[in-house]
């Protein structure tokens, strides 16, 4: 089953919950099966991710409709559940890394999705534009905003402050 990892990763970062990501990917696979006729060769991954994204938004509308409009990034408490991250990774992961993970998870949905598509899935601007159904200019401005939010994230600065304080 090609691209299942990509599908799961996107769903996982959008839904920020392992079980919900499962549901979204299952739904996306059922849809993919139906839409398979519209598959174009090596665009398969972007095409599948488009379906995952649609499945996610439908799921969001049914299960957490308030998040569609209210996700302004202030909801840090809904940040990714740490327990679901591989325990081996988290043992070796320092506070800085955890802060970055939390900061990405706390990004508003529309910024989080372009960031994940760009940085983790390594899609081109053009592909992201197609997946997220927005113009390339919007891809660029959302990416810029996502990065600016990360760079200015209080989560990162809190940790950076502690680190530099303790080192001295």
């Amino acid at each position: 089953m090609p691209h299942l990892n990509a599908a799961y990763n996107l769903a996982r970062w959008l839904a920020r919950d392992a079980n919900d990501a499962d549901d979204v990917v299952q739904d996306a696979c059922v849809r993919a099966l139906k839409y398979v006729g519209s598959l174009h060769g090596n665009e398969a991954r972007a095409w599948f991710l488009t379906i995952v994204r649609h499945a996610f938004y439908d799921w969001l509308g049914r299960n957490r409709p308030s998040e569609i409009v209210q996700d302004d990034g202030t909801a840090l408490d809904t940040a990714i559940d740490h327990a679901a991250v591989d325990p081996e990774q988290s043992a070796s992961r320092n506070d800085q890394t955890q802060a970055l993970v939390d900061a990405v998870a706390a990004l508003p949905l529309q910024y989080r999705e372009v960031l994940v598509l760009r940085e983790l899935e390594e899609l081109s601007y053009k592909e992201i534009a197609r997946v997220a159904d927005i113009p390339i200019g919007t891809v660029m401005s959302r990416l810029a905003r996502a990065r600016a939010l990360l760079q200015r994230s209080p989560l990162l600065h809190a940790v950076a402050g502690n680190m530099s304080g303790s080192e001295r």
Partner: protein, 252 residues
């Protein structure tokens, strides 16, 4: 190139999205402008940190198995059915992913011709009906007034579904919503008959062969009719005879 121009393209440059000519101009600017060069470095550093530190979530094996089961279900038993061990091997082979994609697409593509029959449409209609009921997402426009529901739907679709009020026959219009059926958004009209909820999916006629007039899927009845230049598919737990009569009436 000045700093304003550079600011607009530094991110695209860092993402490798800038053509060679402009890359050259930006490189030249970065060499001479410390503040833009610092911005560029920050972007690259963030880039590197995200790629190194943000987990890439791999699909759990339980999910993978369930998805494969979905595919297996959808592929009707054929003479040369692939054994599941074999399927696993080529489906999971990362190096062969591209190749596998083609094979999967081909296998499914052939299967889909058989599978995407009316059976599928009826099942999908029932699934959609159940999902709307469970998700409490039955109506997006709640109104018993056909003159409210129809324009609401027309504004969201590339066709205008006829909406009839059959309250006098006991079928009260509850409202409507946009749903997905057979790869495209469709108008879903919601009626209530005694305690039964009825979803009616209205869409322009398709090029497929018309579905069976009546089917039963998981205890739900699915009745089909054509009329008023539209294709009508009613889904409900209402008994088959009454549902057939209703869909014929509403499609008139």
């Amino acid at each position: 190139m000045n700093c304003n121009e550079a600011a607009a393209t530094i991110a695209a440059y860092a993402d490798g999205e800038v053509d060679r000519l402009r890359s050259h101009t930006i490189r030249k600017h970065l060499r001479t402008c410390p503040s833009c060069a610092a911005k560029h470095q920050e972007l690259l550093a963030l880039h590197a940190r995200i790629r190194a530190e943000i987990p890439y979530f791999k699909a759990p094996s339980a999910l993978r198995e369930r998805v494969l089961a979905t595919f297996a279900d959808a592929t009707p038993a054929r003479g040369d059915r692939v054994r599941s061990a074999d399927r696993w091997r080529w489906m999971t082979g990362g190096a062969l992913a591209g190749c596998a994609a083609t094979i999967v697409a081909w296998v499914i593509g052939t299967a889909i011709v058989d599978w995407r029959t009316n059976e599928d449409l009826a099942v999908e209609a029932v699934t959609t009906h159940v999902r709307a009921t469970l998700g409490n997402h039955r109506v997006e426009v709640a109104s018993s007034d056909q003159h409210t529901v129809k324009p609401w739907l027309s504004a969201r679709l590339d066709y205008s579904p006829p909406v009839r009020d059959l309250a006098r026959e006991g079928f009260a219009l509850v409202g409507g919503r946009i749903d997905y059926l057979d790869r495209r958004p469709v108008a879903a009209l919601v009626y209530r008959y005694r305690d039964h909820m009825i979803d009616v999916f209205v869409r322009p006629p398709t090029t497929h062969a018309p579905p069976a007039a009546l089917r039963t899927v998981r205890g739900f009845n699915v009745a089909h009719a054509t009329g008023s230049g539209m294709d009508w598919l009613a889904v409900s737990d209402l008994n088959a005879a009454e549902l057939s009569n209703f869909v014929a009436r509403v499609a008139q």
